[in-house]
Point group: C2
Chain length 125, copies 2
């Protein structure tokens, strides 16, 4: 659908994002920019500092994301929209939580991909 | 986060989209354009005719979407990204199916909002 290999970029990005999140989520700072937006369980943050503060203040110590599915499409501005569905294992909980997360990736002037839009939502069955 | 009232436009759009889908889904044609993309359960369609053919060929007669949550953000090109989570009631099935759907809305030259990106995915708990 476009000349960029959006599926491959999306897959690599999502793996990197969740590996970083699960290892030490303050290191996600490099994936956001000053105009990036995060909506986490309907709470909104704008910009790197605010987003990282939100992510690092989440009340769990150990977290593991397991991706169930990932679909991507190119967007009008040369970006990539991604819908991830997956499961979260939090601390010592035995039961995983289902979640969905939508990203829009854009390229900065140096050609590096970053997260412009990030919407995370738990899904209750 | 932007001058457009993205939350209100997103809410109105999503209500209109699912009402139309549940009543007669071929009437969704007016919400897509020739460069619109649909990824439905990882199957890709491009353009109005292909998207409407996909939607109308889905193997159910009666469907009801129930929205659980809707979050929206403005996008770099003046569009709106939306993440919907909800439940589907299909035909005579008693058990609802959980789903997630990500949209990116854009405005056409006449100022009308249309779906540029549409990714639909069932979520298994």
């Amino acid at each position: 659908m476009a000349t960029i290999d959006f599926q491959n970029i999306a897959t690599q990005f999502v793996e990197h994002y969740y590996t970083t999140f699960d290892a030490d989520r303050k290191n996600l700072a490099g994936l956001y920019r000053e105009n990036s937006m995060l909506t986490f369980e309907s709470s909104q943050s704008l910009g790197v500092a605010s987003i990282v503060e939100k992510l690092t203040s989440l009340p769990f110590q150990k977290i593991t994301h397991k991706i169930s599915a990932l679909d991507a499409q190119p967007t009008p501005n040369g970006g990539i929209i991604i819908l991830v569905t997956g499961q979260l294992l939090v601390d010592e909980e035995q039961n995983p939580l289902s979640y969905s997360q939508a990203f829009q990736l854009c390229q900065d002037p140096a050609g590096q991909w970053f997260v412009f839009n990030d919407i995370f939502k738990l899904v209750y069955g």
